[in-house]
């Protein structure tokens, strides 16, 4: 087995491109492909998916021949999970709970993404951000967003 450690970065990067390329290629097969003269909706994405798979394979190959060898470094999973959760929470609740609640929840989750921030600090940050955002976006910029959502009977 060649030196996988050295190639790891390229193998993973190439792998992501191959998987996504296959996804686009297979997805485009479910629609009409057509001919060069009358291209169907699937024609262009099918070509792109194919090119992506080839490029991904070349990157994997290059990794084994001349890998960059640098370590990938640690991943802060806590940050990834909390921030993703914050964005999903906002998207899922903005209509139901309204801007105030959705913002507060998202800001609280986001603030908690940093492990050194204490729960009390996170709470203060979330409250401050909610107030600032409502003033900036609703009062100053007059975006038409519901302050209180449809799930809450008033």
């Amino acid at each position: 087995m060649p030196d996988v450690g050295r190639a790891l970065k390229d193998v993973l990067a190439g792998g992501i491109f191959i998987v996504l390329g296959l996804g686009f290629a297979i997805g485009s097969l479910t629609t009409e492909i057509g001919t060069p003269l009358r291209m169907g909706p699937g024609y262009f994405p099918l070509i792109l998916g194919g090119i992506l798979v080839v490029l991904g394979a070349l990157i994997v190959g290059k990794g084994f021949i001349a890998g960059e060898g640098e370590a990938i470094g640690a991943v802060d999973w806590r940050a990834l999970i909390f921030i993703t959760a914050a964005l999903l929470f906002f998207g899922l609740t903005i209509r139901g709970i309204g801007v105030i609640g959705a913002l507060f929840g998202a800001a609280l989750l986001a603030a908690a993404a940093r492990s050194e921030t204490s729960p009390r600090e996170a709470l203060v940050i979330a409250i401050a951000l909610t107030v600032i955002s409502v003033v900036v976006f609703i009062v100053a910029l007059q975006l038409r967003l519901p302050l209180i959502g449809t799930w809450i009977p008033v």
Partner: protein, 502 residues
């Protein structure tokens, strides 16, 4: 004189009260967000774009351009005061600018950056006035085959000058184009890759892609290891450079302006190359070589002028050919499209008020930059002191509310998370995010011209190489790839980037 009539029209548009006002607001907001450490110009503009969408097209575009100058200058301020450049072109400024700040000369460093930027901006704006119209005329003769080849050339050339692996950059471009196909197919109305989600029928919003790849991915990286920020000075005194300083910065500003103007037109990292190049030139010609790296004012004046000149002239390919040379221009292109304007050779004839108004407001924006930034420097310094633990939740909250407000679509918010995660892992694996964004924005254009060209040629793909202009453009694209992978040039390029980095 047609030129003066055009400029008169431009002035008439640009000095309309609401345009002046929003140009000012754009510059102020751009600077305010741009000075925040850890947010580069691309993320700044992406975060602020939704604010402009409710305005009239001309006013909105003028404001976006204002945000761009502000963000650019804000990045320099951060580089000088806390040695944390928001993007690579400010990295050079950080070397000597930060040393100057540590020697108690933060004021003159900031003033030099502002003055240099203004002079460079003025000169480069004149270049845009002179060169944009003839280039647009030439592009008017292009058919779909030529435009397809032009977009291919633009995309490939954009990676030839960038750093990092060419293969990975190519893959990022193709991936970006592929994400650009999500949504309804314009020809047949068939949904593609929407997984039955109605909200995706209009495609993925480019603001989500940009905020995810440049904003959220950057937050993930910053949280991994929080850099300690060291603000050297809380109060800036003695803002104005001395007579001696003025004598020292005159020639570097002139050289930087010329170099930046030329490189800014090139696709890719023209502005980065411009500031690195200007630094090398100043170091080479200076009689005070030993001062470089220890706070030489020339090393702030040259790169900052080059940087700003390039920022200005990179509007030329966008306004005349519809080709954004770097990610920030890709965002501005997106802003045009939101307002129903397809940038390209037709803009100058069909929307003369917008075209010339934008150009004149470029100059006014640069003027605001000097008038605004120097007196208000105290406020910017205070913004620098906002701790990161408050800053990044704010970015997340603003990104969520901003992108949701585009069409009241929750999927815009989910897409930030998706592209944030994807961008984070790809960047960690050595892929640059810029080519993906360029591919994403130009992808629909590429597909449209490909399909049209093939319909015109009755399905014959040789049309791209038998039409002379198209063939030349494609040949240039091949040359660009060869240049990018040639080991000798590669090595040279890595040296340029590696040597100057602090």
């Amino acid at each position: 004189m047609e030129l003066f009539d055009n400029l008169a029209l431009g002035f008439e548009t640009a000095v309309r009260l609401e345009n002046l006002f929003y140009c000012f607001v754009g510059v102020a907001l751009g600077t305010a967000v741009g000075v925040l450490p850890g947010i580069g110009p691309t993320a700044t503009i992406a975060l602020l774009l939704p604010v402009t969408f409710t305005l009239e097209p001309v006013t909105a575009i003028i404001m976006v351009a204002g945000i761009y100058y502000g963000a650019q200058y804000g990045g320099s301020t951060t580089a000088i005061l806390i040695n944390l450049p928001g993007e690579s072109s400010a990295a050079v400024t950080a070397i000597d600018g930060h040393e100057m700040a540590r020697n108690g000369r933060a004021g003159p460093a900031l003033a030099t950056a502002a003055i240099g930027s203004f002079i460079a901006g003025t000169f480069a704006t004149i270049l845009v006035v002179l060169f944009a119209p003839p280039l647009a005329d030439a592009a008017l003769t292009f058919g779909s085959a030529e435009f397809f080849s032009l977009v291919v050339l633009g995309l490939i050339a954009s990676i030839a000058l960038a750093r990092g692996s060419t293969l990975k950059a190519l893959a990022m471009i193709v991936l970006g184009i592929a994400f650009g196909t999500v949504g309804l197919d314009l020809y047949s109305g068939t949904p593609r890759f929407t997984f039955g989600v109605r909200e995706l029928y209009e495609g993925i919003d480019f603001v989500s892609v940009a905020v995810g790849m440049f904003g959220v991915a950057e937050i993930f990286r910053n949280l991994e290891d929080e850099k300690t920020r060291h603000l050297v000075t809380k109060t800036i005194s003695g803002l104005w450079p001395t007579r001696e300083d003025f004598r020292r910065i005159a020639a570097p500003i002139a050289r930087g302006t010329l170099l930046g103007s030329a490189l800014g037109i090139l696709p890719g990292a023209g502005h980065v190359l411009a500031s690195f190049g200007a630094y090398s030139i100043e170091k080479r010609v200076s009689k005070r070589k030993h001062e470089f790296g220890h706070g030489a004012i020339e090393a702030v004046a040259g790169p900052e002028s080059a940087n700003n000149a390039a920022a200005q002239t990179s509007f030329i390919p966008l306004l005349t050919l519809g080709l954004p040379p770097h990610p920030v221009m890709a965002l501005i292109l997106g802003a045009f499209i939101i307002h129903g304007i397809q940038p390209g050779p037709n803009v100058i004839n069909e929307q003369p008020a917008l075209f010339w108004g934008l150009i004149v407001s470029m100059w006014i924006g640069n003027l605001f930059l000097v008038l605004l930034n120097l007196p208000l420097i105290g406020i910017w310094v205070r913004m620098l002191m906002i701790p990161y633990k408050m800053l990044f939740p704010a970015i997340i909250a603003f990104a969520a509310i901003g992108t949701f407000s585009l069409g009241l679509n929750a999927w815009n918010v989910y897409m930030i998370a998706f592209f944030g995660l994807l961008g984070y892992f790809l960047i960690k694996l050595g892929c640059e995010p810029a080519p993906l964004l360029l591919g994403f924005v130009l992808g629909p254009l590429l597909e449209d011209h490909l399909r049209r060209a093939l319909i015109i040629s009755r399905g014959d793909p040789t049309t791209f190489v038998t039409r002379p202009i198209s063939a030349v453009l494609l040949a240039l694209a091949v040359v660009a790839i060869v240049v990018a992978v040639l080991p000798a040039i590669r090595k040279q390029r890595e040296v340029v980037f590696a040597e100057e980095e602090p």
